[in-house]
């Protein structure tokens, strides 16, 4: 699923079998042939793709070579949510790659540079003194220009953000307890080199089927608006079922707030059925957020109004202003939710345009043990907006700027808090 594709690009799954590589190729090709939502395959001659690439798959001398062919096949579709999660490392030196540890800071691409976009107060980065707004210059002994040079020049900005982050992530992460050697450039342009401890990722470990384990986290806190109001801020990192009760408890804590902010920055998606439940905390009617169109069917994501709180008591969904924060790493279910709520006019969206990878997908185990992620539906919001390759465009675009990060400011959050004041004033009139 989207979560796995984006978050865990370097993760390997357990076990694989030694089988003729063409068996795996054929299986992957057939799965796409049989389940792709578009019988024209986005205008690609799918039979011709098999004719061209199957001999190369049959000649693949390693798991990595086969995956290259599979990825090339999937890339021909030019769509998101077609990917392979390896069951073994691509190369021998990657055989022991363990990405269980995180340095406790994240980065985003700004131009051709990585900026530290967030620092987890409990992580190794904070302990080492990493600050938001610093530029990452060398990651794990590889210079950022060299790292980015592996990406095609032709990538459009939206995809460049995603692919660059994925590259950086494979460098940032490593075995828990290991150290990341990193060189930054601070706000004054001075180099700062340090070793940052990678700590075990925190959160509730959740494993769904063949997918790698995801550590689910829900954070909630109360924030003040500029005019002295209060807003409940809820952030979660993946759309997994374990989120729902925690989200509900958080909403319960903020029912009397002047507004709420759902922070989906960096949230790459998950189980989209959850859209129906989470949206119901803010909408009191069974409205349609969007429609998933498969080859055989159209299925609606309909709001389930949440009229019972976490204690089992009757309540009404929150009726005050709701803002959603997104960025270039908000994908899939996060986009379906945000785009759907935006189309209904229920929320105001702040931040940067989202990933534009909003195709509902399935995952299937291939004969060699790898997992194939493959889109089987298209998602269109209630007002007819197709999010794939477009993403959610915020109502208020707030670019990521180094000066704000260096100053410790969270501009999208500030903009959302200010809007809650405005919305509250309008409502009170």
């Amino acid at each position: 699923m989207a979560v796995a594709a984006l978050l865990l690009g370097g993760v390997v799954l357990p076990s694989a079998q030694a089988l003729p590589p063409e068996d795996t190729f054929d299986a992957a090709w057939r799965i796409v042939r049989d389940s792709h939502f578009d019988p024209t395959f986005n205008g690609v001659d799918w039979d011709a793709v098999a004719t061209e690439l199957r001999p190369r798959a049959a000649a693949a001398g390693s798991a990595g070579e086969l995956r290259q062919v599979l990825r090339e096949m999937l890339a021909r579709l030019g769509q998101s949510h077609f990917a392979v999660i390896p069951a073994t490392a691509d190369t021998l030196d990657g055989a022991s790659r363990d990405l269980s540890g995180t340095p406790g800071f994240d980065v985003r691409l700004a131009g051709r540079e990585f900026l530290v976009s967030s620092v987890d107060p409990a992580g190794g980065g904070a302990a080492a003194g990493v600050r938001t707004g610093w530029k990452a210059v060398i990651l794990d002994a590889v210079g950022v220009p060299a790292l980015l040079s592996t990406l095609p020049e032709s990538l459009e900005p939206r995809l460049l953000q995603v692919e660059a982050w994925r590259l950086a992530s494979t460098r940032l992460r490593g075995p828990a307890g290991s150290h990341l050697s990193v060189t930054f450039e601070d706000g004054a342009g001075r180099p700062v080199s340090m070793d940052v401890e990678r700590r075990q990722e925190i959160g509730l470990p959740v494993t769904v089927g063949n997918l790698p384990t995801i550590h689910v986290r829900v954070d909630a806190h109360r924030a003040n608006t500029p005019a002295g109001g209060t807003a409940g801020v809820i952030r979660f990192n993946a759309w997994m079922a374990a989120v729902d009760p925690l989200f509900g408890q958080a909403v319960d804590g903020f029912r009397r707030a002047d507004g709420m902010i759902v922070d989906l920055r960096g949230n790459p998606g998950g189980l989209a059925a959850m859209l129906m439940g989470i949206s119901g905390h803010f909408i009191d009617e069974r409205k349609t957020l969007g429609v998933m169109k498969t080859r055989d069917n159209e299925l609606r994501f309909v709001v389930n109004p949440r009229r019972v709180n976490s204690k089992g008591e009757r309540v009404e969904p929150f009726g005050g202003p709701v803002a959603i924060l997104v960025d270039a790493l908000s994908g899939s279910a996060s986009e379906c939710f945000t785009g759907g709520m935006q189309a209904l006019g229920r929320v105001r969206v702040f931040g940067q345009p989202s990933m534009g990878q909003a195709l509902p997908a399935l995952f299937s185990r291939l004969p060699n043990g790898d997992v194939l992620i493959h889109a089987y539906g298209d998602f269109v919001t209630a007002n007819g907006t197709r999010l794939e390759a477009r993403g959610v465009v915020p109502d208020e675009v707030v670019p990521l700027e180094q000066s704000h990060l260096l100053a410790g400011r969270d501009r999208p959050m500030e903009a959302a808090l200010a809007w809650i004041d405005t919305a509250r004033t309008l409502r009170d009139r």
Binding site: D34, T207, L211, R295, F363
Partner: protein, 279 residues
């Protein structure tokens, strides 16, 4: 006149679409099925219209009666007032699996519990009046409108007898391959609206599966279910494997235990969060 007991096979087959939706219809991924070994063949439902029974084929009534005899007979079917079934549910291609329990009681009470790794417990029920579901992904929900009507229809404990009072028409419309077996295809038009197609093995008389369309929280969903591996539990035979397919998604239910007349009425009590929704 017919009466039947609602074999869990019937109950499970009808609930498969919802179970599939709960897990799969998410932006995240799940099982692929169509190229998987043993995938269900899915003859398309015919367009709705007047039922025309083919005169060269056995009557629908005789096909249904033969099935009842094959599973143990009408008297055995009518001898029970409640059923409990336990088993597993899997989406093999995705590696998703879990446990499943089905409770059913006269006249029309049902409860389905599915517990899936990484997702949690999904519960669906009908207590004779209210239909509801509680899912860790969507929260508690009361069924309304068409969804509730269909739930009521499917909850009928003796529904598998295909009492003619419940149908506008029942007809044998074809003899065809279904799941690789020659089968009689029956078309059952419900008085409450909608139609189901069922397939009965020409050789054994046993029901081989069906195609059902049901209203769900996400709209209409058509599922094809294949019922195999009949085993005897007490006086009755039941299918212990139900492979169901909704579009590109496949699920497999395996029944390991069926007991009769042990289900306490309290099983069908609505959970507190559902009661709160009714206030």
């Amino acid at each position: 006149m017919m009466t039947f007991r609602p074999g869990p096979g019937r109950a499970l087959a009808l609930r498969m679409p919802m179970a599939a939706m709960v897990l799969v219809l998410a932006c995240g991924g799940h099982a692929h099925a169509q190229s998987a070994p043993g995938a269900v063949s899915s003859p398309r439902p015919a367009a709705a219209g007047p039922v025309a029974e083919r005169k060269d084929l056995p009557s629908a009534r005789s096909v249904l009666d033969r099935h009842v005899e094959a599973i143990g007979g009408r008297a055995a079917v009518l001898s029970h007032s409640s059923t409990y079934a336990r088993g597993t549910l899997a989406m093999p291609a995705a590696g998703v699996s879990g446990t499943l329990e089905v409770f059913a009681a006269k006249p029309d009470k049902t409860l389905l519990k599915i517990s899936l790794g990484g997702v949690g417990e999904v519960v669906e029920g009908f207590n004779g009046t209210h239909g509801w579901s509680v899912s860790p992904m969507t929260g508690p929900m009361l069924l309304e409108g068409r969804q509730l009507e269909e739930k009521r229809f499917d909850a009928e404990y003796n529904s598998e007898l295909r009492d003619e009072s419940r149908y506008a028409s029942i007809a044998t419309v074809d003899e065809m391959e279904f799941d690789g077996r020659p089968c009689y295809k029956l078309r059952l038009v419900r008085k409450t609206g909608g139609e189901d197609f069922e397939f009965y093995d020409v050789k054994t008389g046993l029901k081989a599966g069906g195609i059902s369309t049901r209203e769900t929280a996400m709209g209409k969903v058509t599922a094809t279910a294949v019922e195999t591996d009949y085993r005897r539990f007490g006086k009755l035979m039941h299918p212990t494997t139900v492979r169901s397919q909704v579009g590109a998604m496949q699920q497999v239910i395996t029944i390991t235990l069926i007991e009769y007349d042990k289900v306490p009425p309290s099983v069908f009590d609505m959970p507190e969060e559902i009661k709160a929704l009714l206030k």
